[in-house]
Structure formats: structure tokens, C-alpha cells
Amino acid sequence: MSIPLAQHTAPLLLIQRRMPWALIGLLALAFIGVPLWGNDYWLNAILIPFLVLSLAGLGLNLLTGYTGQTSVGAAGFMAVGAFATYGFLLRLPELGLPVALLGGGVISALVGLLFGLPSSRIKGFYLMVTTLAAQFFLEWLFVKFPWFYNYGSSGTISAPRLALFGHDLNTPLGRYLLTLVTVLLLTWTAINLVRTQVGRNWMAIRDMDTAAAVVGIPVVRYKRLAFAVSSFYLGIAGALWAFAYLGTASASSFDINRSFQILFIIIIGGMGSIAGNFVGAAFISLLPIFLSHAGQALFGGSVDAGQLQNLQKIIFGVLIIVFLIKEPEGLIRLLHNLRDRVRQWPLRF
């Protein structure tokens, strides 16, 4: 039963194909510029955490921004990924780093699936509470059972060896490239997912899940898929956070504050957007640095670090509220509007 297209009209599929210059430029900068000119400080303290946080934001965004299931347990799933990858690297080193990372992601996806099972019966606010349960439970799990951290006395994990095809990746540049490639690959798959039927189904569930069911979308299955895929991304982000950024991590690196931080990234960056995660992560990574420099400049170096932290908290809180009120679609929407206005500008009379 197909719709007969009018005979005199050839199917006109107008797809805009523009050369994505901006994207190419960014990629060139990332792959060529940074290794050439970047110094260790920039790599270690800014770029790597920025990339990992973007990935984490992306993971949470798939669940919360695209599928509409609010989760405050993001860090818990990051922890699963970190500890699982650690387990792979430690106990099955012959599998290699990429498999260990993927394995960490898969295990995290399974755990995410488990905690996502209640989504078939509960929604919205109450579902958020299950994610909270997940967060606290997982934090407890990785403290209480020494097997996870190989019975070390301090409860911490660090990567036994970060190597790919014989090259030692444990240099700032090596870790940066590892993170960059991983994040880019996963972002590409995320873009594919959200542009196809999977993404549409997720967004339909977000916008009105009863209608989605009527339209023929298997809502329960897709909600669970969202939990699994989101946790997959978060798991890999967690592993990268532990080994490419921190070097050494413990359960407390993935506490509730981290979960809130990721939530803020997607609120400020833009929920339901891929690019927004990068914008949000950049913001969250750069603001503390900007603040401390501003503090130094304004008060001549006598600013208490603790006070700066408090100020940062206040600013974040204010921004969250301002964004929720004024621009619920986050910074990315603001940037889009800005770009459109800049484009129009020469023609505005």
C-alpha cells in the first residue's frame, strides 16, 4: 500500500550538503595543531578532562536529553566502566586496551540496563530516584568489595599499562590522542543513532510516551536501550576519566557531585543536542580556570581557593536557573542564534 507519487514530479529530495568547514577546521586543530603546539599543562588539565566530560555529557544526554529519562546516577555508571576496564587490564591484559575499554563499556551497559528495568513501570521523578539508588549503591559497591580494586589498601585503581600496538600511551600526548580518538568515534556513532529511527523513537518517548506507544514504538524496549547505550558511553567516559585524566581513581572520584556536574553540563550545554555536550563541558572545564585567573587579576593573588570554589558554586547555580528560565535549550541554542544573526548581519537593513 504505497502512496502514488504525482507522475509529473520527480522525487525532489533537497538535502543540504554543505562542506562542514568549521568541523574540518576543528578536527585539524585537534589532530595536528594541538600535538604540535600544546603543552603538557593544557593537555593534562584542560583538554583531556574537557573531552572526557563531553563524552560523559553525551552519554547522559542520550538518556536524559533525548529520551527524557532524568538520571542523577551518571557517575555511578562511570565508576562501573572505570572498575570494569581496570579489571580487564589487570586480569586479561592480553586482550589489549581497546577491548578493555569496550569491555568496560559493555559491562557498564549491562548494569545500566539492570537499573533501567524499573522504567517500564515508573517514570519521571520517581525514576530519578532509582538512578539515585544506583548512584549510592554503586559507590558503596566499589568501596566495600576489595576485589574490584585488587585488594589495594587505599581502594584506588590505576591503569597497569596503557599501550596500543606496542606504543606506550602513558604520556600526556598519548593519553590525549587516545581520548580524542575514542571520543570522536563514539560521537560519530551517537550522531548516527540520533539521526535515525532509534533517535526518533527516543525523542518520541521523551515528548509523549503514551502517543509513542500508540504509534507503534515499543516504549519499554527503547527506554531500556537508552539506559544501556547511555551507560555504555558513561562507562567508557569513566574509564578514560580514571586512566587518561586522573591516573589514579577510587569510588569517590565518581560521587554524587560528579553526577550533578554531568547533569549541569547537559543543562547548560543543551539537552537533546550532540554539540551541546562539548559546549557545556568546555564551559564547566574552563570556568574554574577563568575564575581563578580573574581572581588573581582583581585581587592580586590573595584570593582564598575555598572562596573561589564557593563563588564558582554560586555562579553555576545562578547559571542553571538562568538557563532554565531563559534558554532551556542551553548554550548551543544561544550559539546557533548568534551564528544566524551574524550570518544575517550584513543583510539587515
Binding site: 521523578f125 558503596w140 564557593n310 547559571l319
Partner: protein
């Protein structure tokens, strides 16, 4: 057997503290449909304000009064700047706004009053009391008594005064309440102020129990299981929910804890709440929401 009852009672008494916190939430949720995540931060702020004033030598009663005033002014500001602009948005959006709010309040609290743990001396010693064969904490008993007094006062407020009746009208149907001329803003301000005071009492008791420190604001997270079990819209539910959570946590820690490694209090309440969600999604006393297509 005695040990079981002691654990149970100890849990129940601790539960009254949870109830206190949960009541603050219920008040705000009933009147404005917002789950106020900032309740914990408000607790912290209240406790810190009181402690700072008291430490400076301000007498007890005066410090209390000043704190109440500060909290009320704060409530006004919150209503004006945060709640009003977000009036028609989804629950989750409002929740996230209060999350942001909690950050602001925490930042302010610690910025203005420092982040070290402060001892709060309410003049109540935490000594063991013997009630029959059972050993209970004097502090817990007094806290429970305070909770009872507070609830009684609130009950009288809601049922006997005009403001209380207006509050219930607003909670029931905001549009209808508006159409008979109830000043929504006033009601919200009053509710937030009352919630602030409840928060103050809770904050003081919690602060005296474990010192006034940052983690106080995380006590709010414990209120969630209480509200799920008791229902978001019932004060009675908050009380019962708090008692259940307190008792269950204590019993679980003592009896189940050793089997799986101990320290299960951080998450046990949530699992309990999850179980409740499956059996009775609206909580013991809450209202069922009906979804319309």
C-alpha cells in the same frame, strides 16, 4: 529481644528526624508542586546562621528569631526570582532549578560563614536514657518530641486558621483557588517561609546531632525515599514514611548489614523505596496521578 526493640525504637526515633526534613518538602510540594531540592541547602543555611550568631555571643532566643527572619526573607526572594518565572514548567525543570538553587545557597552559606564543621550546642546532652529495659538516646527522644510539637502546630495551622485553609485550597486546585481570589503569591511566600522554619528546626536538630557541616545538605537526598514511601502530598505520610525509613534502615544495618559487608545505610532506603514504587506508586498516602492523552 530487647536488642531488637532497642534497634527498632532507635530507628523510629532517628526516623522522626527524617520526617522533619520530609515535612518541609511536603509543604512546598503541596502548595507549589515543586520538589524543592534546595531544602537541604536551606537547612544548612539556617543551621549555619544560627550557629554563627550564637557563636558571636547572641543569646539563644534572639539568634533563633534572627534566623527565622533571614529564612523568611530568603523564601521571599526565592519565590520572586526562581519560582515565578518557572511557573508552568515541568516537574523535572523545577527540580533542576531547585538543584541550582541549592548550589547558590550552599555557596553563600560556606562563603559567608566558613566551611569547617561547627558544633551546635542546643543544651541537650546525648546521654542514654533507660525506659524500662530499653536503652534509648535522650537526644533522639527530645528530637522526636520536638517533631511531634511541630506537627501539631502545623496541623492546627492548616486546619484551624484561614491561611491554612487557603493553603489547602491552593494545594488542591491552583486555578480554582485563584478564581476565588486567593493571593497565590502570598500563599507561596508563607509556605516557603514555613518550610524554612521547619528546615530550621530540622537543621538545628541534625546539626546538633552530627555537627553543622556541608553534608547536611545531602540529608535532603534521604528525604526522597521517605516521600516515595509516604507520598509527596501528605504530612501524615511524611511522618509515617520517615518512621518506616528510619526503622528499616537501622534494622537492616544491624541484621542484614553484617551479611553483605556493612555500611548499607547509604542506599538501603532507596531500594526500599523502589520496592514500594512497584507495589504502590503513589506512596502510602499520596494521590495517584492520572495521565490523559
Amino acid at each position: 529481644m530487647t536488642f531488637f526493640f532497642e534497634t527498632l525504637l532507635g530507628g523510629l526515633l532517628a526516623g522522626t528526624m527524617y520526617s522533619l526534613v520530609a515535612i518541609g518538602f511536603v509543604l512546598i510540594y503541596k502548595a507549589s508542586g515543586v520538589f524543592n531540592f534546595a531544602q537541604g541547602a536551606m537547612l544548612l543555611f539556617a543551621a549555619l546562621t544560627f550557629v554563627s550568631l550564637h557563636d558571636q555571643g547572641v543569646p539563644f532566643a534572639l539568634a533563633l528569631l534572627l534566623t527565622v527572619i533571614v529564612m523568611s526573607v530568603g523564601a521571599l526572594l526565592i519565590g520572586r526570582l526562581v519560582l515565578r518565572p518557572l511557573v508552568n514548567r515541568s516537574q523535572i525543570t523545577l527540580f533542576m532549578a531547585t538543584l541550582g538553587l541549592s548550589f547558590i545557597i550552599e555557596g553563600l552559606a560556606q562563603g559567608l560563614m566558613g566551611s569547617q564543621v561547627r558544633a551546635l550546642d542546643l543544651g541537650i546532652d546525648d546521654v542514654p536514657l533507660f525506659v524500662g529495659p530499653l536503652m534509648l538516646s535522650q537526644f533522639d527522644l527530645i528530637a522526636a518530641a520536638a517533631a511531634v510539637v511541630l506537627v501539631t502546630v502545623l496541623a492546627l495551622l492548616f486546619n484551624k486558621t484561614r491561611i491554612g485553609v487557603s493553603l489547602r485550597a491552593v494545594a488542591d486546585d491552583t486555578t480554582a483557588a485563584l478564581s476565588i481570589g486567593i493571593n497565590l503569591n502570598r500563599i507561596w511566600q508563607i509556605v516557603w517561609a514555613v518550610a524554612g522554619i521547619v528546615g530550621l528546626v530540622a537543621g538545628l536538630l541534625w546539626g546538633a546531632r552530627q555537627g553543622v557541616q556541608f553534608s547536611l545538605s545531602l540529608v535532603v537526598l534521604k528525604a526522597l525515599p521517605v516521600l516515595i514511601i509516604g507520598g509527596f502530598t501528605s504530612i501524615g505520610g511524611a511522618i509515617v514514611g520517615g518512621l518506616i525509613v528510619g526503622a528499616a534502615e537501622n534494622l537492616a544495618e544491624v541484621y542484614i548489614g553484617p551479611l553483605i559487608g556493612g555500611g548499607i545505610t547509604p542506599w538501603f532506603a532507596y531500594v526500599l523505596a523502589l520496592a514500594f514504587l512497584y507495589i504502590r506508586p503513589a506512596g502510602l498516602f499520596g494521590e495517584r496521578a492520572i495521565e490523559r492523552v
